[in-house]
Amino acid sequence: MAQLQDQVTMAPATAVAEREDAPQKSFIDAIHDTLADEMRADDRIVLLGEDVGRRGGVFRVTAGLLDEFGPERVIDTPLAESCIIGSAIGMALNGLRPIAEIQFLDFIHSAMDQIMSEAAKIRYRSNNDFACPLVIRVPFGGGVHGALYHSQSIEAMFVHTPGLRVLAPAFPADAAGLLRAAIRGDDPVLFLEHKKMYRAIKGPVPTGDFEAPIGKARVVQEGTDVTIIAYGMMVHEALKAVSVVAEETGVSVELIDLRSLKPLDEDCLVQSAKKTGKVLVVTEANEACSVASEVAATVGEEAFAYLDAPVMRLAAPDVPAMPFSPPLEHAFLVDAEKIGAALRRLISY
């Protein structure tokens, strides 16, 4: 495993090789710098959330922004998630471009009414009379000893909600490009930041004003024999698994990073499935009705005749949430080893 661990930081650099001369940034710096750049360019942007000001966020994503932009634009809110999102919606309805932070995805449940019934439906229910340009940034995912309430991956609930866009970049360049696109868009976006990647993942980030396309997957690595589809930290775990299994079996693996969970880049997924005939979909969320389920169904419907094996899902077990103690956390969490094992099963099908 030690050999695999080293490749965590190596992998993204090769993945965005076309930009390898760009400056290297950590995932967290890519997000921080994009927030700062956009706030400098557009004084309608306000940040609000718990601890985003003085503390600069519990993960330090917004560090220094209070000092640069002042307390009117960087708001330390009371601990009231529904009001964070609800008041951000009001700001969006009155000419601002709010970026709300929910401290952990595990804490978002009390804001669901505001996200699913309000933000997501404002344009539709008003027949396009109102828009809700709102970005909700949220750390998600496990593997950091966060236990049941600092590890959740409940993104599927939002993917199930028309009117929202859901983004989960895996590389610093995509974090910057997609966040910029989200901020500049006119619709509500849930922007998911895998907390384990904040400092563990580094990669080249182009300088200047660039956006990444919402709704487009990234082919991290091209291959011909089997496709892995993942997002967030699972992309990096998959990269580790692929390097081992490919060397061991000689199989050519295509790895796709969804980046955008809603909308899904169905064309990219289906084309890859048609090419390789075998598809493994990986998520660290619970399996039932997950993003992996949606991808599997899409591939099954659109590429059935090309498949050489049933589409395989690898996801968290049907257990309420991630336990704390290391052996329990390890047992729950999808990692490179489990992906490798699933990949071998699929290859030998």
Binding site: E72, A80, I89, M91, Q114, I122, S126, D129, P162
Partner: protein, 378 residues
């Protein structure tokens, strides 16, 4: 107990404030006061607004305009019941009994500048903010020209970007934090606007109400929380909704004024909301206004209020009908006479007839449009 807290960290005692620093974060409050064991008691009670007298300083033409809006809201509401009972309108929500409070509140605000965040009983307020009888009927009959939602929402979900009436939904109290955010943006953009968020006493039980009061108070935002307490959340009486005498008593706990006002007294509500708006515009923060009203009709056209309240109670409240009271007041003031009342009523009937005809003749939305406007580009 508190005297034991002497080993608090130095930073807490001295405070984070550092006069040498130019960093914004160091200029903000963020330090504990020195430990103390003395606390002062606070008084938790709302003010009770006096009944109105005379014309509240309003010119006759304004008083007549108020009366006209009140009577129009009532007439539209009654027509929608008829349309529902005759099978033309699938579903309606009634605001009868609330109109006096709503007209008083609406006329105290700056239409075109201020923001209305209505709930489903705010027909009269929405009319004051500029919706027309025809707009309302288009929505009631789910026709394509409905400006509030193009026939997408149930009737009574008012909204219009042009009129600063914010689109509303059905889960109660969700509009209250929107008002707070709108007020925050208004202050930041220096537009001078005030936002008024309307809800019932049932909605005052929701977390969104409490979270919004707290946030608005911290930032002294230009927002008015307007509780139209009609004694019933569908079937549940107010005694089982809140344990206190007045919803407005809540305000003290958040650190801003609460005012109770007779919601059947149009000009009393006008004065209270005018004062609250003035406070808001001066940067003094929010006010919680509770107008005591009564819902004359069932919750909606699908409800039967005979299953949970005594018809005699309804009758007793109808004796305090805000429309009749206001008309009597204006007659006493010599602002209205029989002839004027007859003319206004006849004009309103014509307006409601016209609105009904227009809606009945208007097309439904084209079914092919059902998936439009999910996103900006779709």
């Amino acid at each position: 107990m508190t005297t034991e807290v002497t080993n608090a960290p130095d930073k807490a005692v001295q405070g984070a404030f550092n006069p040498q620093s130019t960093a914004v974060s160091d200029q903000l409050p963020g330090h504990y006061p020195p430990p103390s064991a003395t606390f002062e008691a606070t008084t938790i009670s709302a003010q009770v607004a006096p009944s109105s007298t005379g014309d509240a300083g309003l010119p006759p033409e304004t008083l007549i305009d108020m009366y006209r809006h009140l009577a129009l809201a009532r007439a539209l509401d009654e027509r929608m019941w008829q349309l529902n009972r005759s099978g033309t309108a699938a579903f309606i929500v009634s605001g009868q009994g609330h109109e006096g409070a709503q007209v008083g509140a609406g006329f105290a605000l700056e239409r075109g500048i201020d923001f209305l965040l209505p709930y489903y009983r705010d027909l009269a307020l929405s009319l004051v903010f500029g919706l027309s009888a025809t707009d309302v009927m288009m929505a009631a009959l789910a026709r394509a020209p409905d400006p509030t939602s193009g026939g997408r929402q149930m009737p009574a979900h008012y909204g219009s970007a042009r009129l600063n009436i914010i689109t509303s939904s059905s889960p109660v109290a969700t509009q209250i934090p929107h008002a707070v955010g709108i007020a925050y943006a208004a202050r930041m953009r220096k537009t001078g606007a005030v936002a008024i968020a309307c809800f019932g006493e049932g909605g005052s039980s929701k977390g969104d109400f409490h979270e919004s009061c707290n946030f608005a108070a911290i930032h002294k935002l230009p927002v008015i929380f307007f509780c139209e307490n009609n004694n019933y959340a569908i079937s549940v009486p107010v005694e089982e909704q809140v344990s206190i005498e007045h919803v407005a008593d809540r305000a003290a706990a958040y650190g801003f004024p609460g005012v109770v006002v007779d919601g059947t007294d149009v000009l009393a509500v006008y004065q209270v909301i005018k004062d609250a708006a003035e406070r808001a515009r001066k940067g003094e923060g929010p006010t919680l206004v509770e107008a005591k009203v009564y819902r004359f009709q069932p919750h909606t056209s699908d409800d039967d209020d005979r299953t949970y309240r005594d018809p005699d109670e309804v009758k007793a409240w109808r004796a305090r009908d805000p429309l009749a009271q206001f008309e009597a007041r204006l007659r006493d003031l010599g602002v209205l006479d029989d002839e004027q009342v007859a003319r206004i009523r006849s004009d309103i009937n014509r307006e409601v007839d016209h609105a009904t005809d227009a809606a009945e003749q208007a097309p439904y939305p084209d079914s092919s449009t059902f998936d439009r406007h999910v996103y900006a580009d779709r």
